[in-house]
């Protein structure tokens, strides 16, 4: 009572009449207005700059650090990119490598990167709001800015905004882009790079036009139920179909299947005895089928390449008559397959069929059995094929590929959060949304069409990284700042040799003139490198050049004429313009040259650490065995190889020696003197 009375009289004193109120309120207003410059002076960034100066003070290079420190708001402005970056205002130590031991933000120095930190700005890579000078606005999602700092693990996605080609430094981005192509993502979703070209799939999904000739309805059903149960490495996703749908789909696919132009030749006799199985296995090995096809070994490990489908349970899938035709010439069934046309004779085919036909898994098919389909089932199957977009990947008779079947993902990396419906339990950030969507598409809605993929966590991370690179900024990037992808060339060799090379699918493994796979050496200048006799011999009977390699050149059983055609073409066409293969006459090498070369080989260059010249003494097996160099290579090639191997065969492991002319000459002399045909395999560990 007393206090309130006092208060009342106090207020009456202050505000009792207009003059006193005017005085009192004016003072109050001035006091309050004085807070405005004070608040301005106490902004976060000034506090950080003071802290930075305190941090620097105690260090041994304090003087130079303090001298380089620039007080006040710091701004990086890139009008051509529309980027305003004020991050260095608080991140004062970005360029101070001597503060490498500082672990607290905002004072950590930036690790070295191929770009100038201050010339490129921060938000180009890290996202966030560069214009902001408060912690919250700069780093997180706010009402005015949705794009928060990118989590460190997805940082490579930012490289992908300009760099469309593979970069050594961005493994995750490379893997993500490869996965997008390999897992058929881009067959449903359109993903365009900034130059307007849509990504294309590399997964080579098989045509289902003649599926009835290849396999049974039961297998189709079991496969649809769970593709990974058939082949753990299968890229086909699980569509999580109910059994009835699977029944109808398989009915439709068989019903739509047409016979293919099957061979009139009778199927080879398939031996069934154990010896045939064993011989089949060794033929499978000798033909280096496992360079492309994997088979699960007894320990459950996959052994072999992933270019072709896994063959662990092939016997449960392929009909024998189809397999016979396929082994004779795969092109008859599927003109587009990557599988080479092996020239196998009937007996060999029989052995392989015995081996492959034995690869069965009764558990996989179970005791599935279907009655002949009704037309209702087939119609339902057709509806399902359209609904699920099967034709986006597979060729199916009478079903056209749907356009815009799935949402375009060209700009998915800058999709506004407001437009996203998050599934329960998913953090409200773009990367988490994309990751959740890939991991379990149906958790967002059971009616979504997107199938369930079987991906390792790292693959999901890679995919998210690749998708996050699909931003508006990337699309609007000035052309001068864009590093376009190396587009696959559509090089074809000419004439008969060209047809032969297509038949043998050389480009599945070898790259020539920019087209082809990366499993085997680039052959663009192969004609300059090798001698014709060696080449002919190698084509007919490819022996081991690189002992450490697991994937090797298969033996196609070429005829003499075919080998000659190929060798002639390679020797005449695949010549480097850099030098003439006959420019060094090996007959002029003296014994002393070779002796000197030998010293260099074992001494200064220590070539034996990777190559073998003397099989009894040398052990290195990273590079090709050099025992037959004289028969294989010419002196000019060896000479230039020692100068700069990288320029002759991009991507080779050979170091760039830049040897002196004398050294290169001596080594060439020594190496072309090696003409022993190797018979003995080097001892393995």
């Amino acid at each position: 009572m007393k206090i309130s009375g006092k208060m009342a009289s106090f207020f009456n004193f202050l505000l009792g009449d207009s003059a006193r109120a005017f005085g009192a309120l004016s003072v109050a207003l001035v006091a309050l207005l004085a807070v405005v410059p004070a608040a301005d002076f106490l902004r976060d960034w000034r506090g950080y700059q003071k802290r930075y100066l305190r941090l620097v003070r105690g260090r041994s290079d304090a003087t130079s650090l303090t001298r380089r420190f620039q007080p006040g708001l710091q701004q990086i402005w890139m009008p051509e990119l529309g980027v305003v970056d004020r991050c260095p205002t608080c991140h004062s130590a970005l360029r101070e490598a001597s503060l490498g031991d500082v672990k607290d933000q905002p004072f950590r120095p930036h690790p070295p990167i191929p770009h100038s930190v201050t010339g490129f700005g921060c938000v180009m890579c890290h996202r966030g709001q560069g214009a902001a000078t408060t912690v919250e606005e700069a780093h997180r999602s706010t009402k005015s800015w949705e794009d928060p700092i990118l989590p460190a693990r997805y940082l490579e996605s930012s490289c992908g905004q300009c760099h469309m080609e593979r970069l050594t430094g961005t493994p995750l981005l490379n893997q993500g882009r490869q996965t997008l192509a390999r897992y058929g993502c881009v067959r449903c979703h359109v993903i365009k790079s900034p130059d307007g070209v849509a990504m294309t799939g590399t997964d080579d999904p098989p045509s289902l036009a003649h599926i009835g000739a290849k396999t049974t309805r039961e297998w189709i059903a079991a496969w649809l139920k769970n593709p990974q149960a058939y082949a753990s490495s299968a890229t086909m996703p699980n569509f999580q179909l109910p059994d009835d749908d699977i029944r109808d789909l398989s009915a439709f696919l068989i019903a739509q299947s047409t016979p293919y132009l099957a061979s009139r030749e009778a199927a080879p006799k398939v031996p069934t005895d154990d010896r045939a199985l064993k011989n089949g296995a060794s033929l499978f090995g000798e033909s280096f089928c496992s360079s492309c096809h994997a088979i699960q070994n007894a320990a459950g490990m996959l052994v072999g390449g992933n270019l072709g489908p896994e063959l662990t349970r092939i016997g449960s899938k392929a009909k024998p008559e189809w397999l016979a035709d396929w082994l004779r010439d795969p092109r008859v069934y599927d003109p587009d397959t990557q599988m080479p046309h092996y020239r196998l004779d009937a007996q060999q085919r029989g052995l392989l069929m015995a081996f492959l036909g034995n690869k069965t898994d009764p558990d996989f098919l179970g005791n599935r059995h279907f009655d002949p389909p009704t037309s209702v089932q087939i119609d339902h199957g057709r509806a399902l094929v359209n609904e699920r977009g099967c034709a986006a990947c597979h060729e199916i008779n009478g079903v056209k590929k749907a356009d815009n079947f799935a949402p375009e993902l060209t700009l998915v990396g800058s999709r506004p959060l407001a437009k996203i419906l998050f599934a329960p339990g998913v953090a409200h950030t773009l990367p988490d949304y994309i990751a959740a969507k890939i991991r379990q598409p149906r958790s967002f809605s059971t009616s979504l069409k997107m199938p369930q993929y079987t991906l390792a966590p790292e693959q999901v991370e890679a995919l998210v990284t690749a998708l996050l690179a699909q931003t508006e900024r990337a699309q609007k990037m000035p052309t001068a700042l864009r590093i376009p992808p190396r587009r696959a060339s559509d090089y074809h060799a000419a004439g008969q040799a060209g047809r032969l090379m297509e038949d043998l699918r050389c480009f599945s493994c070898h790259t020539i003139n920019g087209r082809g796979g990366d499993m085997a050496p680039d052959l663009t200048w192969e004609g300059t490198a090798v001698t014709r006799p060696w080449l002919v011999n190698f084509l007919k009977n490819p022996n081991t050049l690189r002992p450490a390699l697991i994937r090797r050149m298969p033996k196609f059983n070429l005829t003499d004429a075919e080998a000659d055609t190929l060798a002639d073409y390679i020797m005449t066409v695949y010549q480097t313009p850099a030098f003439d293969r006959d420019s060094i006459d090996s007959s002029r090498f003296t014994r002393a040259d070779a002796e000197h070369g030998k010293e260099l080989f074992y001494g200064k260059y220590a070539c034996q650490s990777c190559h073998i010249v003397d099989p009894d003494k040398d052990k290195g097996y990273i590079g090709p065995t050099l025992t037959q160099t004289g028969a294989r290579l010419n002196a000019a090639w060896v000479f230039h190889w020692l100068k700069n191997a990288e320029s002759l065969r991009p991507g080779t492991l050979e170091p760039v020696w830049k040897s002196s002319d004398e050294d290169a000459r001596a080594l060439s002399a020594f190496l072309v003197a090696q003409k022993i045909a190797p018979q003995t395999e080097p001892a393995k560990k």
């Binding site: 003059a19 006193r20 009192a24 004016s26 003072v27 207003l29 207005l33 004085a34 701004q75 004020r86």
Partner: protein, 161 residues
């Protein structure tokens, strides 16, 4: 006139009110003065949207010996003289007009008031009080010529290639 007021001011209530009014008017004046000072702060831009003073002039190969190249957007002359490359500011030292290189005469002339300079920047004639400014020039790690337009050199400096 002030007589009655003085009398009244002996009334404590009145003098107090007077003090309050003076306080109020004083505060308003203080606020205005503060607003002036802070207005200066407000009017001073804290960040500038201006191109960087450091210009990348490209590779030295683009400037053959004996040539004068005017880089219009950056207001520079890149001169390859006998002693090497150097950079001159194209801004006239008189009143800041942009001068032009007259290849037929071999001089730099200012269109505004007729100042004329030699290719080393020294004054031939005209109202310009000083020769053209020599700017700091150096080669970057990538081999590009960089010119700092904000830094005038007191001594002549050349980049030799």
């Amino acid at each position: 006139m002030s007589e009655p007021v003085r009398k009244e001011s002996k009334n404590p209530d009145v003098s107090r009110r007077q003090a309050f009014v003076q306080l109020g008017v004083g505060s308003i004046c203080a606020a205005s003065a503060g607003a002036m000072v802070f207005g200066y702060e407000f009017l001073t831009p804290n960040v500038l949207y201006e191109p960087s003073p450091i210009v990348n002039a490209g590779k030295p190969d683009g400037y053959p010996p004996g040539t004068v190249t005017q880089d219009l957007p950056s207001g520079l002359y890149l001169v390859h003289g006998s002693e090497g490359l150097y950079a001159l500011s194209a801004v006239c030292t008189h009143l800041g007009c942009l001068t032009a290189w007259k290849p037929e005469l071999g001089i730099v002339a200012c269109p505004c008031h007729g100042s004329k300079f030699r290719r080393d920047g020294s004054k031939i004639e005209g109202p310009a009080p000083r020769p053209l400014r020599w700017l700091k020039i150096w080669l970057s790690d990538e081999g590009d010529l960089l010119v700092d337009r904000s830094e005038e050199l007191s001594r002549k400096q050349f980049v030799r290639t």
